[in-house]
Symmetry: C3
Subunit: 342 residues, 3 copies
C-alpha cells in the first residue's frame, strides 16, 4: 500500500498532529486498533529508526523500541548526554565554540543509515519565547533527508495525542459533542505544556468541547490558544479556559490531568517557586471525579501520586492511564508502519 | 509446550532460585545443555524483555541481550542513571519529593510493552537491615503484570546460580556428596553477598556439603544462614561456616571465591576499611588449590587478579571461570524460553 | 563462502588497514559496492557484535548497529562511562586499585557471547609516546577469542579508511597516479591523527601521490611517516609533508581536511593552546578548492563549519562528506559479512 496514494499526500515529518490530515489520522487509528486486536505486521524488516534523546524517557523510548521490533525492524537509541556530543543548531556560524558538529551534518549523516529519526529535543529552560520556537527539532526537520518524528518538544507531543485519541474513542465512542476537561495539577517538577497543547487540539479536532482548569499565571501558549479558539469556532465547539477545577469538572466526560510550568515565570526559578507555593488544592480526587458525567481520568505519566491525582482515583475503575500507555505502542506501530512504507 | 503444564505450577517471578521447583530447575538445565550443544530455538520472535539497570553490568547485560537475540527476541536496555529518572518505591505517599514517578506506574506501563522485565536494583548502602529487604525489586514484583527476573539484588543472584549449577554438573557429574568451599576474598570494592547466598542454597539443594571460609565479621546474612542450616539438615549435608581458608579447602572439590562486605560494618566506611585492613592472606593461590581433591576454581567475576585469586590459578587448567561466564548465556536462554512461552 | 579460503589467510583482527591483504580489500570493496546497489544479505542472523565505547560516537555507532541489523544480526552497545566499570590493561598486577576487572577477563567473558567485538579505546591524553602504543586495544586483541575491530584508536581508524577508499574509487575511478592532499584544519577540539594516518596509508597503497599540509609542530607520527615513506618508495608515489595549504592544493584531485593535535605539545594544554593560537588561515574555502584539478572535498566528520571548511564548500557540489558517511554503512556491512562468516 502506498500511503500517499490513498490520501493524496505523503507524510513528510510528524512534528504536531496537524501534520496528518483527517484521512491519515483515521488510517493510523484504524490500523492501530487492528494491531491491538493481534493482527501481525512485520513489514519493516531491515528498517531502522534512530531515537535521539536530549532529555530522559521511559515510556516513549520503550514503546517505540518495542513497536519497531514487533514490526520486524530496529531502533538505534542515542542518548545525547552519554553517547555523543553537543550539536549546533544556528546557521552560518564560525563553529569555534563548544559544539563540534552542526545538526545539519549529523542529520545528513544519520539519514544515510536510518529510515526515520525521532527526536526529543532539549529544553533550554531560560525563556518560553525562545523554547516555544522548537528550534532544535525544526533544524532536524530542515536538514534530515528522512522523516523526523517529534518525541515531545516544548510545544507538541503528537505521539501522546495519537494514543490519547485511540483511548478516547475506545472509551467514549463518538467524540463529537463530548466534554474534555484539562486539569492543571501541582508538581515540584512540572512539564512543558506540550502534552496539553496536543490533547487540546486533538480533542477540538474531534469535535469535543474543552474546559481548561488552571490557576492564575498558568495560561497555555498564546499562539496555541489562538489556533485552538479558531478551531473551536470552525468546529462549533465550546472552549473555556482559566476555570477553577470544580467548575471545569462539572458534567465532563474526561478529566485530563497534567502539570505544566507557568509560562510567565518560565526560566525564573524563585518566581516560579513562589507562584507554585500559592497554588494548593489542584489534586484530582474522588470528589472532583464525582462532579463529572461518569467521568474518566486520563494522565500521560509520569504521575506524582496524591499530589496530582489521588491513589484512589488512579487505582480505581475510572482510570484510563494504563490504557493510554498501552495505546502508545499500538498507535506508534501503526504510524511507523504507514510512515516507513510510504 | 506449556511449561506450567509439565510442572503443575507456572513461574511467576524469578527473585531467587527457590522460585523454581526441582522439576523446573531440571527443565532449565536440560534445555540449557541442549542449547549449548547447538540446538537452535527462535520461538521468542517479536518478544521483548526489558532490562532495567540501577547499577552497572557487563556480563549480565550482554549475556541476556544476546540470549534474547539468539531466541529471535529483543531486549530494551534501560540505564536508570542516564535514561530516565528516580522512582518511588514506598506506598501511600504524597509524592512531593525527588522521584516524579512510582514503581507502581512504571511497572504497569512497561508491562504493556514487554513480556518480562529484569531488574538490577540499586543498593542504598546505608544499612544491611534495610537493603536486605530487597524492597525495590519486591515493589517491581508486586506491581508488574509480567514476570520479573532478578539480575542481582542485595540478597540473591539466581541467574548466576543457574549458570553455576550447570557448570558444577558438567564438571563434577553427580553433585550429591561432593564438597564446595565458599572462600571470602579481599577487595577494596566488595560485593553484596547475593552471589554467595545463591550458590550456597543451590549447592545444598543439590546435596553438596558446604564449607564457608571467611574472616571474623564477615558472616553471611543471618536469615539466609538459618534457611541454609535447615536445608542442610533436610538434605543430610554438612554445612560449616567461619572456617579459615586452609581448613575449608581441605579435600574440597570446588573452591568458589568471592569478596563480600562485612554485614556488621555495612554502611560504615571507616569501620569497614579498618576491618578490611586487618584481613590479609585471603587470596586463593596454588597452595590453597593443592589442599583440595583435584579442586576446581569458580568465581562469578569481576575478579581482582592477584588480590582475590592468583593469575596462575585463574589462567590454569583448574579454573572454571570462563565456563561459568559461558553458561550464563545458555541457562538464561533456557530460562527465558521456558518463562516466556508459558 | 570461506573467506580465508579465497585469500589463503583468515582475518584475525582489524586494527589497521594493513591487517587486510590486497585481495581482502578488493573483496570488501566489491561486496560493499554490490550491497550499496541493493543486494541483500541476511546471513548474520543470530550473530552479535559487541560495540564497546570508551569515547563518544555518533556515526560509527549508528552505522555499525544498522549494518548488523540489515545483515540479520545485532549489536550490543556498551558505553564504558555509564554501563560498566574501569578495566585494567596492565599484566601481572595485584589489582588493588580502581579497576575491579582486567581486560583479559572481560574479553574472555564477552567472547562467550559475541562473534566479534569492536572497540573505541580511551585516549589518556597525557603523552603521545604512551597513547601511540594503542595498549588498550592491543590488550583486547590479545585476550579476545573472537575478532577485534578498531573503531578508532590513537593511531588508526581503519573503518573510516575503507569507506574513504570506496568513496575515492567511486569518484575518481582508477586511483593510481591521482593526487590527494591532506589538509590540517583548525579546531579548539582537535582529534587524534588516526583518520589521517589511515587515509595516508590507504592512498599510498592505492598508488596515489600525497601532499600533507600542516603548520609547524603538527607533524604526523614519526613511525607512521617512516612506514608511509617506505610505502611511497615501493609504489613509486610522491609523498610530501609540511607544505602550506596553497602549495599542497595545487593540481590536487582531492583535499582531505581534518584537524589533529600537535603531537609535540600533546598533553600540554597551555603549550598546545599557544601553538594553536599562532595558526590561522587553515580553513578550506572556495579559493583553496579552485587551486586543485576539479578537486573534491573529503572530511570524516564531525566538522566545525567555517573554521575547518567553509559552508560554501561543504554544501556545494564538490563535497563528498555525505558519500563518505553513507559508505561507512556499506563497507562495514561488507567487512562484517566477510569477517563473521569466515
Amino acid at each position: 500500500m502506498d500511503h500517499a496514494g490513498t490520501t493524496g499526500q505523503a507524510i513528510r515529518h510528524f512534528h504536531r498532529l496537524d501534520d496528518l490530515n483527517d484521512r491519515q489520522i483515521e488510517d493510523v487509528l484504524d490500523l492501530a486498533a487492528r494491531l491491538k486486536r493481534g493482527v501481525s505486521r512485520t513489514d519493516l524488516a531491515g528498517q531502522t529508526v534512530g531515537l535521539l534523546f536530549f532529555r530522559p524517557s521511559l515510556r516513549t523510548r520503550t514503546s517505540l523500541e518495542v513497536a519497531m521490533h514487533q514490526l520486524g525492524g530496529h531502533t538505534v537509541n542515542l542518548n545525547a548526554a552519554s553517547d555523543f556530543w553537543e550539536l549546533e543548531a544556528r546557521e552560518n556560524r564560525t563553529m569555534d565554540g563548544v559544539a563540534p558538529e552542526h545538526i545539519k551534518d549529523a542529520a545528513a549523516a544519520l539519514s544515510c543509515y536510518v529510515g526515520a529519526m525521532a527526536i526529543r529535543p532539549a529544553l533550554l529552560g531560560k525563556s518560553w519565547a525562545v523554547d516555544r520556537k522548537d528550534e532544535q527539532i525544526r533544524s532536524w526537520m530542515q536538514h534530515s533527508r528522512v522523516p523526523v518524528i517529534n518525541m515531545e518538544s516544548a510545544l507538541w507531543h503528537p505521539l501522546q495525542a495519537l494514543a490519547d485519541l485511540l483511548t478516547l474513542r475506545e472509551t467514549l465512542g463518538e467524540l463529537k459533542g463530548k466534554k474534555l476537561t484539562i486539569a492543571w495539577t501541582q508538581s515540584p517538577t512540572p512539564s512543558s505544556p506540550a502534552v496539553v497543547h496536543s490533547i487540546l487540539m486533538a480533542a477540538l479536532r474531534s469535535g469535543m468541547h474543552v474546559n481548561i482548569a488552571h490557576p492564575t499565571g498558568y495560561d497555555l501558549d498564546a499562539d496555541v490558544m489562538e489556533q485552538a479558539n479558531s478551531l473551536a469556532q470552525t468546529q462549533g465547539s465550546r472552549l473555556e479556559t482559566g476555570l477553577n477545577l470544580n467548575d471545569a469538572a462539572e458534567d465532563t466526560h474526561v478529566i485530563y490531568a497534567r502539570s505544566w510550568w507557568g509560562l510567565e515565570s518560565y526560566g525564573q526559578p524563585s518566581l516560579s517557586a513562589h507562584q507554585s507555593s500559592r497554588t494548593t488544592g489542584w489534586c484530582v480526587d474522588d470528589r472532583i471525579m464525582e462532579l463529572g458525567d461518569n467521568a474518566r481520568l486520563m494522565h500521560p505519566m509520569p504521575i506524582r501520586r496524591n499530589l496530582e491525582v489521588s491513589d484512589r482515583v488512579l487505582d480505581g475503575p475510572r482510570s484510563l492511564i494504563i490504557e493510554q500507555a498501552a495505546n502508545r505502542l499500538h498507535t506508534q506501530k501503526s504510524l511507523l508502519s504507514l510512515l516507513l512504507r510510504q
